[in-house]
Amino acid sequence: MSVTRGIQRVSARLSGTRQISRPIYLSNNRLNLSADAPAGVGTRVFAHQVRAAVQAGLPYLRTYASGFKGDKENGYYTWPRLGMQGDLGSLQQRRVANGEMYNESVPHTATPTGIRATTVQELMRTPAGRDAWLLSGSDIELTFPLHEGSESRRVLDAYVKAKGITV
């Protein structure tokens, strides 16, 4: 199956320097899919990108994931679900702990409360944490460590396998 149908825009670039302190990494800037994009095309693009980045010897991917519950963008939720990791800001930690919606005007069920987390990957590990981030989450800076056995790769590899996606 082609991985190009339904993709409106993919924007990525290599950033950083060859110095040890700032290694070269792949920065994902945009992934826009059309409304009629086949299911799973975003994951397929991402899985191919990860494979290519691993082969190129890059240490990690980075992206700025946008959106919130009810927004037209969903990267803030979808990319962490697929294994991307990131630190929560203090405001995000507070919203999650207090069960505050990012956008209160969106109809929603009761939000979980009392969840203490400093990273989005901590939230992904429990059902309540996942619900909390879906409802309270917002834009977040994320990375995807590419070394063998990283939690990010374990999640993506298992998902790609379960979906029968050939990379």
């Binding site: 899919l33 799973g40 037209k72 969903n74 374990r154 999640v155 298992a158 998902y159």
Partner: protein, 61 residues
């Protein structure tokens, strides 16, 4: 006649129910493996318990 369509949101384009179920299972597995009570950690602790704290004395009682 055209049917009016509401603007699509990120929710419409996000993971579907099957994707969510698969990912829930994967993350639950990750959480179990990283837990201090995971099978590997229990095995290590069990092995540690089988090692006597000190060798029994060889002196006759």
């Amino acid at each position: 006649m055209t049917t009016p369509t509401k603007p699509r949101t990120g929710d419409d384009l996000a993971l579907d129910a099957e994707d969510e179920r698969i990912l829930d299972a994967i993350w639950d597995q990750i959480a179990r493996e990283d837990s201090p009570t995971s099978r590997m950690n229990i095995a290590i602790r069990s092995r540690a318990r089988r090692v006597p704290a000190a060798l029994p004395s060889k002196e006759p009682i």
